[in-house]
């Protein structure tokens, strides 16, 4: 389950960054991968559509406390938590 989630999230991020999924490292930040603020909003949308969850993300929130976007790993972790919450 977890691996499938990680794989899907990485695929979504890779698509936004216009790179191959194998070039996405768990410790990478979206910024490092070249995903800008609009790419981030599209990433969140793609995650919601893929997993049928609601991601509580507000671009205005300092530090994005409700949804940790600091790295690929933190995003995967946050998505897993939201899936667990939804089921």
């Amino acid at each position: 389950m977890t691996d499938i989630v990680a794989e899907k999230v990485i695929k979504i991020i890779a698509e936004q960054a216009m790179i191959e999924p194998r070039d996405v490292a768990l410790e990478d930040s979206l910024e490092k991968l070249g995903v800008d603020s609009l790419g981030l909003v599209e990433t969140v949308f793609a995650i919601e559509e893929s997993f049928d969850i609601h991601v509580p993300f507000n671009a205005n929130e300092p530090g994005n406390k409700t949804f940790d976007i600091s790295s690929v790993a933190s995003i995967i972790e946050a998505v897993e938590a939201l899936i667990a919450e939804a089921t």
């Binding site: 603020s37 507000n58 671009a59």
Partner: protein, 399 residues
């Protein structure tokens, strides 16, 4: 330079009140017009607050036949224009008058309702007047018909700067001698399921409230309504002994050429400086700025930096009345010009309400929470739209 241009009439319909006077009184009192949204399918939205005009009964203002042509945004424009024209007493009939109105969504309610019918309800036909009802220029057309205006009339759509661009165009046309009298301002009615659903996607809306310049701000809140003014050549207004509300002293528009949503300091600086130059005003003469102040992380700090860049160590007081009426998108500059007129005529600076926590990046006098008394001789009104389209108006006291 051309002719001088003055404002001789104003009208408004907002969540703060059903007239310019009521809206300004609410601004002076720091009253909020933001409340729970009420419309079909609101329960399917994440964002459920806005500056909605509750208790508005369209049938109390218009006949059934009229309503078949008037989208909600057109209705607001007509009501605001009626008030402005009555106050002004200006001669509008004829080819020396025109209409320029700003709107971003135009007849969005009509689109929303009819898309629902054909997509969700599976209907195969819609009302025959859907097109004349939804078009962005419908409100401008109806104002020309209702007031016998046969000169240049059109609508301007530049997202959140629409009505400032519209009023700037009206100003230019009178100054250049293309018209003597113009009806101008903006109208917007985007508070419907489709309208808010689209905005939700951008993740820039607040679920809790509009808190411009406050460290705990978390996004914008939308509003709806209209404000319409009568702009007139100074010599004509004087000749007929009109009560002059303010002079439209200058206008400037710039483009950031940078980003489709993020604001840019340099473009805002050039727009404000351009309005000052056009008006022949020194920065020190500006006593109040109605800020764009959306309550987003991006806009407010960028706008404050731009103001400091133009005004140096002694920036004027600024406030965002969006904290009270919400962001009226294409009509917002028109409604916000009321705050500038109130500052010039009545010496009251409308507050930025919901200012809970100072933000080091917005460390100007933002008139926090309570109105202030002042005697500004000139004001600016800022609008910085998505896509980097900036429009700033300068007003000068008529007194």
């Amino acid at each position: 330079m051309g002719r001088r241009v003055v404002i001789t009439g104003m009208g408004a319909v907002t969540s703060l009140g059903m007239s310019a006077r009521a809206t300004m009184d609410a601004m002076a009192a720091g009253r909020s017009g933001i409340s729970a949204l009420a419309f079909q399918d609101v329960e399917r939205l994440q964002i459920r607050i806005g500056g909605q005009i509750h208790g508005y009964d369209e049938a109390a203002h218009f006949s059934r036949q009229e309503l078949s042509f008037y989208d909600r945004f057109t209705q607001f424009a007509i009501l605001a224009a009626r008030e402005a024209v009555t106050q002004s007493g200006a001669m509008l009939k004829g080819a020396q008058s025109g209409v320029v109105l700003g709107s971003s969504g135009g007849g969005l309610h009509t689109q929303n309702e009819n898309f629902r019918k054909v997509y969700a309800e599976g209907k195969n036909r819609v009302h025959p007047f859907v097109v004349p009802r939804l078009m962005n220029s419908a409100a401008a057309s109806h104002l020309s018909m209702l007031h016998g205006i046969t000169g240049p009339s059109y609508s301007v759509s530049t997202a959140c700067a629409s009505s400032n661009h519209a009023m700037g165009q009206a100003f230019h046309m009178i100054r250049a001698g293309m018209a003597d009298t113009m009806l101008t301002g903006g109208a917007e009615a985007m508070l419907c399921f489709g309208g808010i659903k689209a905005w939700e996607g951008l993740r820039v809306m607040s679920k809790t409230g509009c808190r411009p310049f406050s460290a705990n701000r978390d996004g914008m809140v939308q509003g709806e309504g209209a404000a319409v003014y009568v702009f007139e050549a100074l010599e004509i207004a004087q000749a007929r002994g009109a009560d002059i509300l303010a002079e439209v002293a200058g206008f400037s528009m710039t483009s950031d050429a940078n980003d489709i949503v993020m604001p840019n300091c340099e473009g805002a600086v050039r727009a404000m400086q351009g309005a000052l130059d056009d008006a022949g005003l020194m920065p020190a003469e500006i006593g109040y700025i109605n800020a764009h102040g959306t309550g987003t992380a991006g806009n407010d700090s960028t706008e404050c930096a731009a103001i400091k860049s133009v005004f140096g160590c002694h920036p004027p007081a600024i406030s965002s009345t969006k904290s009270m009426h919400g962001h009226l998108i294409g009509a917002t500059g028109a409604v916000e010009l009321l705050a500038c007129i109130m500052a010039l005529r009545e010496g009251i600076l409308a507050p930025t309400i919901n200012h809970d926590q100072p933000d080091a990046e917005c460390d100007l006098n933002v008139v926090p929470n309570v109105a202030q008394k002042a005697k500004p001789r000139a004001t600016l009104s800022n609008a910085f739209a998505f896509g980097g389209l900036n429009a700033v108006l300068a007003l000068r006291s008529a007194l």
